[in-house]
């Protein structure tokens, strides 16, 4: 992963000093609540339902073992013994004391970490493909570009007080795993006809209250110009984005209001002045940033006979390998997803002990490196085939080897009403109830790939719009209800799910999911995925059966009660 130089370190150290001073002035009453709010938010500090919540930046999801041990220490000393992997590849702690935050930031700075711009109306942590640099379908490694964007956006003086938050994602593979269609700017690495590298630029995607799939504003921006082009987009947005209504302040609303052609024209008019200016990137800078990634040099290895023997002999290991192990660019290596979705635990939660244990696994098997995924799991990017069996045995003991990656129980969920002040409804108990209903692994494997995403409110941190099945917590007269969508998807064919009808009470949710699954099973062709069946037969068959079975259940209950 990227290693700081003296300039990177100094900026982070200076930030710690700055925020310590701001916190001290706030506690002394010199800074008002309103004045302090954006300052603390731009350091990832929210005031939550029960306590502050501190969101720590994990640039494009990359962590090393030393950083993991620091996170474990913070979980133990300043929190209640655990942290949480977010859907934007960051780490959150839910229980730190405001007074302790400068000290926590100081500890983070010692391991090249920070909480800069993880919240607030500014450019947020850049996200990317967790398989960057190792994916078999990679066009170019997105990480150096992410790091260049991280540096450019860190304390950008012109864009620190945008109309609303601003998220950038970069994809460098054939299959998008970075949700670039659901970002304010989505950058898709591409080559032009002459073979030169550049970016297809999408703008105005986003989930939340008004879910919109991003639109293309440029088919190709040469890599040298990418910062200039982003600056043009940000300037048009900063000047013309709405500031009168926070719900209409994202860039997607501006793009919709102007129309994508007019928006693109304004960006182009700005870009003409910036093109070839001082922020133009050079090959030397790209090479320098790329060289600061201390990736292991992997020589191809022969197929490991021991690994194949274990696969043949051990059914449980084979099941895990099928779901949680992915093909690597280099023969003889694999990428391994450690599941943070064991049954009965909030999706994405990591205990202090697990932070330490993951660090140990990373050191022993994965060159000391891990990546957070936006599906709230942890990836070991490069593992020798020969190490997979021992890794699996240890991960299993640690509760990190649930063999369900990409299956129904690998649920993406926001923290929901148990923690979050914004939530309309709880999400974790719903996730757990569904996991409980579908705990039979053979059944899960038969159902195949199925993404189920839960958000506790329309801010959509759980990405429910792009789940094959999406669940949204809503408030009905003070009661928690759940709206269900189907047919959403992430990836290169990103689509928003369609609402199937009126919402359900919490207790109904496992039955509702069962009705959806039964409809799928009855209509499925061969090994078709759930999402493909929905696309083929449409939403109506699902809807009809869900509500028919629901009414039957309600009637049966009334009969029993009578």
């Amino acid at each position: 992963m990227y290693q700081y130089d003296e300039y990177d370190q100094r900026i982070v150290d200076e930030r710690v000093a700055q925020f310590a001073d701001q916190t001290q002035r706030y506690l002394a009453g010199e800074l008002s609540e309103d004045e302090f709010r954006p300052l603390r938010l731009q350091n990832g500090l929210y005031i939550q339902r029960y306590a502050p919540m501190l969101r720590i930046a994990v640039p494009y999801g990359n962590l090393n073992s030393k950083q993991l041990r620091t996170l474990g220490h913070i979980a133990r000393k300043y929190d209640r013994g655990y942290g949480h992997v977010t859907t934007r590849q960051n780490i959150q702690f839910n229980w730190p004391r405001l007074e302790d935050v400068p000290e926590i930031l100081g500890l983070l700075a010692q391991v090249q970490m920070h909480a800069i711009q993880t919240s607030g109306n500014c450019i947020r942590n850049v996200t990317s493909d967790p398989f960057a640099g190792v994916a078999a379908d990679e066009i170019a490694d997105p990480r150096p570009w992410c790091e260049i964007l991280r540096q450019w956006s860190t304390f950008h003086p012109e864009f620190a007080f945008l109309p609303r938050k601003f998220k950038i994602a970069v994809n460098g593979a054939k299959q998008d795993r970075a949700l670039i269609h659901a970002h304010d700017i989505g950058l898709d690495i591409a080559h032009d006809a002459a073979g030169a590298l550049g970016f297809r630029v999408l703008v105005g995607g986003g989930l939340g209250r008004t879910p919109i799939i991003g639109e293309e504003v440029s088919a190709f921006v040469p890599w040298q110009q990418i910062l200039n082009y982003c600056e043009a987009i940000l300037r048009v947005y900063n000047l013309h984005g709405r500031r009168d209504n926070a719900y209409k302040a994202r860039i997607k609303i501006l793009v919709k209001a102007l129309g994508v052609e007019e928006f693109a024209r304004q960006v182009e008019a700005e870009f003409i002045h910036l093109k070839d200016g001082p922020s133009t990137l050079t090959q030397a800078e790209i090479d320098r940033v790329a060289s600061r990634f201390d990736d292991p040099l992997l020589a191809p290895l022969p197929q490991d006979a021991g690994y194949r023997a274990h696969l043949a002999q051990d059914k449980a290991f084979a099941a895990w390998a099928r779901r949680n192990v992915r093909t690597h660019q280099v023969p003889g290596y694999a990428s391994v997803v450690l599941s943070l979705k064991p049954y009965g635990v909030a999706p994405g939660d990591v205990t202090a002990e697990q932070f330490d244990a993951i660090a140990d696994l990373a050191d022993r098997y994965a060159f000391g490196e891990v990546r957070n995924t936006h599906e709230q799991n942890v990836l070991l990017a490069s593992v020798r085939e020969a190490g997979l069996f021992a890794l699996w045995q240890q991960a299993r003991e640690l509760g990190l080897a649930t063999p369900n990656i990409g299956l129904l129980t690998d649920i993406i969920s926001c923290p929901g009403g148990d923690f979050c002040a914004l939530a309309n409804a709880k999400s974790i108990p719903i996730a757990n109830a569904i996991q409980d209903r579908f705990s039979d692994l053979d059944h899960l494997y038969d159902l195949g790939e199925l993404e189920l995403n839960i958000s506790g409110c329309m801010n959509a941190c759980g990405h429910h719009h792009v789940g094959h099945i999406g669940i949204l917590g809503v408030d009905k007269n003070g009661q928690e209800f759940y709206q269900v969508t189907i047919g959403g998807s992430q990836g290169s064919q990103a689509a928003l799910g369609k609402v199937i009808g009126p919402s359900f009470a919490a207790a109904e949710m496992p039955d509702v999911i069962s009705s959806l699954i039964d409809t799928f099973v009855d209509n499925r062709h061969d090994d078709e995925r759930f999402i493909d069946t929905v696309r083929r037969i449409g939403v109506d068959s699902f809807k009809t059966r869900v509500y028919a079975e629901r009414n039957a259940r309600l009637e049966a209950r009334e009969t029993t009660n009578a």
Binding site: I11, D21, W152, P157, E158, H273, R292
Partner: protein, 184 residues
């Protein structure tokens, strides 16, 4: 007399900012005596009358967040002061307006941040080309402003180019690739 930050020091200042009352016509505003910064609308309505004052160095113009600085393009050489108003400190349009005044319109005179100007944004304001920071009168004591001078140096070497240092860090400083680090 209001206090401002200019040239890295706290100074008293005798420029007054003219703000129109609700419903007051830009053309009818009564100008106070002395140094005054008028709204763009007043400038545009009474340009012929006000131009000599500007040329004499006693009158400047301020822009609101939704006003296009290009409207002043032809007048910039005559204006001793241009100000940009921050109705709320979290309204960040003024940062882009300042950047455009300095880079696109090549304005080289005094550029003031007025309105809800807070010490925790001083660093960003200077980077975007403001040369004078004018918090609301009474917002800070002189001692607080003196203490805030330290925040002008919060970050030694910012990554990106801006008006104050147009070149990004990678052009300003030699940054070493990984191998050279390891060799040290």
């Amino acid at each position: 007399m209001p206090e401002i930050i200019k040239n890295g020091r706290v100074q008293s200042d005798d420029w007054q900012v003219l703000r129109l009352a609700e419903g007051e016509a830009a053309a009818d505003a009564v100008l106070p005596a002395g140094h005054v910064i008028v709204p763009l609308a007043t400038w545009q309505a009474r340009r012929a009358e006000l131009l000599p004052k500007a040329e004499a160095g006693t009158l400047g113009v301020w822009l609101a967040g939704d006003e296009d600085p290009a409207a002043l393009a032809a007048d910039l050489p005559a204006l001793p002061v241009v100000a940009v108003d921050f109705p709320k400190f979290a309204d960040g349009r003024g940062y882009s307006l300042a950047t455009l005044l300095r880079t696109r319109l090549a304005y080289e005179g005094e550029l003031r941040a007025i309105g809800d100007v807070l010490r925790d944004q001083f660093f960003f304001l200077l980077r975007c080309g403001f040369s004078v920071l004018q918090p609301r009168e009474g917002k800070y004591t002189t001692a607080q402003l003196e203490a805030a001078l330290a925040s002008l140096r919060d970050f030694t070497n910012p990554y990106q180019g801006a008006v104050d240092r147009p070149e990004p860090l990678f052009r300003r400083q030699p940054r070493s690739p990984r191998q050279e680090d390891a060799a040290r």
